[in-house]
């Protein structure tokens, strides 16, 4: 309970309280012991004195009793008046009759000696009674009873209690004064340590140090605490240094990265620019190629206009178609977004429109149906395919619909499995002549087709089922196929 009460009290007060409580208890106990010891000792002395006095008187009164001299006995008892705490006394004969008595004036009747008093000392609240037998030569003559007042004892007890109380009080006050000074020896270093710890905790300043103490436990504690602070401070500085270093490194690295990123952005920009330049250049190249091819076409056209021989003129017209089909590819290329692929269906549309326009007097007699799927092709594939379509459609226009026969030329291109494409050109015309052999034809058109098919590493088949039908299967991705020079065409 003590411990719980004192727990939140300051160490100074705690020390003072502990010392004061223990010294007070010790002083009070000592005081009580002294008063009780003195009381008991004084009482024993009183009883001893009283017993001696009584025994002497008893011895002295033997003759008075033996010779029945009451006056003598009374005279002996009257000597008691000099003993001021003796209040009364009486000699009784062995038959219990009162033989002689002594009584101090003003004594209560109840305090008078009684014949039945017990031998020895008997304590009453206010008095002590001492009784002794009177005997001589082994013969019991009677009994002497003496009463003594204990007032003096009680007075002494009260006086001692008061005195000791004052002494204890003064001693406690002195002890308080001393402990108030001396407790600092213990409390001061602890208080200072606590203040320092508090300051360190509040300010986070680890450079603070508690004042050094002695070589006792508190001194050791302070020393250890200071050492701990030093260690923390050191570590703190190290951490700070490391953090600073890290920050510098991060900063450096960030700058490096930023520089790198800027470099990349610049590089990208330059790449983009060069790409744009390349696109532009490519577009320009395609445009010029197309224009040049267009010029060739125009030249061929002009040249053809001067030719009177129909056969020659037809050959010119064929060449003109072939150049046109290539010019169209380039045109489509520079119109396309990425300059490397064209929409094949749109190309077929344009090509067919041109081819139909070359036939005089075709007023919807022959139609071309474009069944090409939405396929994009690279220039490597698109040019041979365009030339092949040009040859086949030109063939059909020339030979499939003799006279005024009407018909439909169907062009399809569809995606097959494994990235292969199937290009087919068919018509519902007259079909192949009886002598037609795909592999042994001498016409330039067919040779061209064969050659282009080889170039595509494709497979060409033909069929006659109510019209001619050519079908070419090839790999779409030309990269997988070794490039063949188109020079041998």
């Amino acid at each position: 309970m003590f411990e719980r009460l004192l727990r939140n009290v300051s160490i100074t007060k705690k020390l003072i309280l502990i010392v004061m409580i223990s010294s007070s208890v010790a002083l009070i106990l000592a005081g009580i012991f002294f008063v009780v010891y003195d009381y008991v000792g004084y009482r024993d002395t009183m009883v001893r004195n009283l017993s001696t006095l009584t025994e002497v008187l008893a011895s002295n009164s033997t003759a008075a009793l033996s010779f029945s001299s009451k006056t003598d006995a009374a005279e002996i008892l009257s000597a008691l008046k000099t003993y001021r705490h003796v209040t009364s006394a009486a000699i009784f004969t062995d038959t219990g009759e009162l033989f002689a008595s002594f009584q101090r004036s003003g004594i209560n009747e109840s305090l008078l000696p009684r014949v039945d008093a017990r031998i020895g000392a008997t304590f009453e609240p206010q008095s002590v009674i001492y009784a002794t037998p009177i005997s001589l030569e082994g013969e019991n003559l009677g009994k002497l009873v003496v009463c003594a007042d204990l007032g003096e004892l009680q007075e002494r007890f009260s006086r001692n209690t008061l005195l000791i109380g004052i002494v204890v009080l003064v001693a406690i006050l002195f002890a308080f004064g001393i402990v108030r000074r001396l407790q600092r020896l213990v409390s001061q270093p602890i208080v200072r340590l606590a203040q320092t710890a508090n300051a360190v905790s509040n300010r986070g300043d680890y450079s603070l140090r508690a004042a050094e103490g002695g070589r006792d436990e508190v001194g050791t504690l302070i020393k250890t605490f200071n050492e701990m602070l030093a260690q923390i401070q050191l570590r703190d500085e190290e951490v700070k240094a490391a953090r600073d270093c890290l920050e510098v490194r991060v900063h450096e690295r960030t700058q490096e990265l930023e520089a790198e990123i800027a470099e990349r952005v610049r590089a990208e920009e330059s790449i983009r620019r060069s790409l744009e330049e390349k696109d532009l250049l490519l577009k320009e190249v395609h445009h010029r190629v197309k224009n040049n091819l267009q010029i060739i076409t125009s030249l061929l056209n002009l040249q053809a206009g001067k030719i009177t021989d129909g056969k020659l003129e037809a050959m010119f017209r064929d060449s003109q178609g072939r150049v046109k089909s290539m010019a169209l590819i380039h045109e489509k290329l520079y119109q396309s977004e990425n300059l490397s692929e064209i929409n094949f269906s749109e190309y077929v549309d344009s090509l067919c429109k041109y081819l139909l326009s070359t036939i005089s007097g075709n007023l919807g007699r022959i139609r071309v149906v474009n069944d090409v799927e939405n396929i994009r092709l690279g220039i490597d594939v698109a040019i041979p395919c365009g030339l092949i379509i040009n040859e086949l459609v030109t063939n059909s226009l020339k030979y499939a619909f003799p006279g005024s026969r009407a018909g439909v030329i169907r062009i399809s291109c569809r995606q097959k499995e494994n990235d292969r494409l199937e290009l087919a050109v068919s018509d519902d015309g007259v079909g192949f002549p009886a002598t037609f052999n795909l592999n042994s034809t001498a016409s330039l058109g067919m040779q061209l087709i064969q050659s282009l098919t080889d170039q595509l590493d494709g497979r060409l088949t033909c069929a006659d089922d109510g019209g001619a039908r050519f079908s070419l299967e090839f790999d779409r991705d030309r990269r997988r196929i070794p490039r063949k020079e188109p020079a041998n065409v």
Partner: protein, 188 residues
């Protein structure tokens, strides 16, 4: 204490006193004179110191001699029976011949006649014997203790000088109770 309890105790004390056959001196007025004197005679032995020569042997009884007509009857005999003084038994010897009593320690001279008393004193002179009598002028005749009556009470006087001459000494307590007769002073 109630009366009912007090009464039996008193009665018991009386019975004990009667059985013991003690002569009670305290109520002197009611006790016959010779009984008081017998008790006194016995009590003197307690307060007197005899020289070693008074006894032949250490275990020898203390003898009280009565010279002449015994005035105590059997009272004295009863009184001393079974008692010891200074570790000695007490015996009573009666004799009309004073020489028979020379070995006694106390001799009571039972005679009112001074001449007879003188003769007896002379016969016992220089012996360590306490002489007691109630004969008038006994002390002046060389006696040691004389009984007398004062205010109806038995009292006694002592002549210390005569005791000392016989080699006896008396306790101061005895002297306090007695009337001491000075050497120069006459009879009371």
């Amino acid at each position: 204490m109630t009366l009912a309890l007090k009464a039996p105790i008193a009665w018991m004390l009386v019975v004990v006193a009667l059985l013991g056959g003690k002569a009670r001196l305290n109520a002197q007025d009611k006790v016959p004179e010779h009984q008081v004197k017998a008790a006194f005679l016995f009590n003197f032995a307690k307060f007197i110191q005899w020289p070693p020569s008074a006894f032949d042997a250490t275990a020898e009884p203390l003898t009280i001699g009565i010279h002449g007509q015994n005035p105590f009857g059997s009272d004295l005999q009863r009184l001393v029976e079974g008692k010891t003084i200074q570790n000695r038994r007490i015996i009573i010897r009666e004799s009309n011949d004073i020489d028979d009593l020379r070995s006694c320690q106390i001799v009571f001279l039972a005679t009112p006649d001074p001449d007879k008393a003188v003769a007896a004193i002379r016969a016992l002179k220089d012996l360590p014997i306490l002489t007691v009598s109630d004969c008038a002028g006994f002390l002046q005749l060389g006696g040691m203790i004389r009984f007398f009556i004062d205010e109806n009470k038995v009292r006694f006087e002592i002549k210390l000088r005569n005791l000392e001459l016989a080699g006896l000494s008396a306790s101061s307590k005895l002297l306090k109770v007695a009337s001491v007769v000075a050497d120069s002073s006459g009879s009371r």
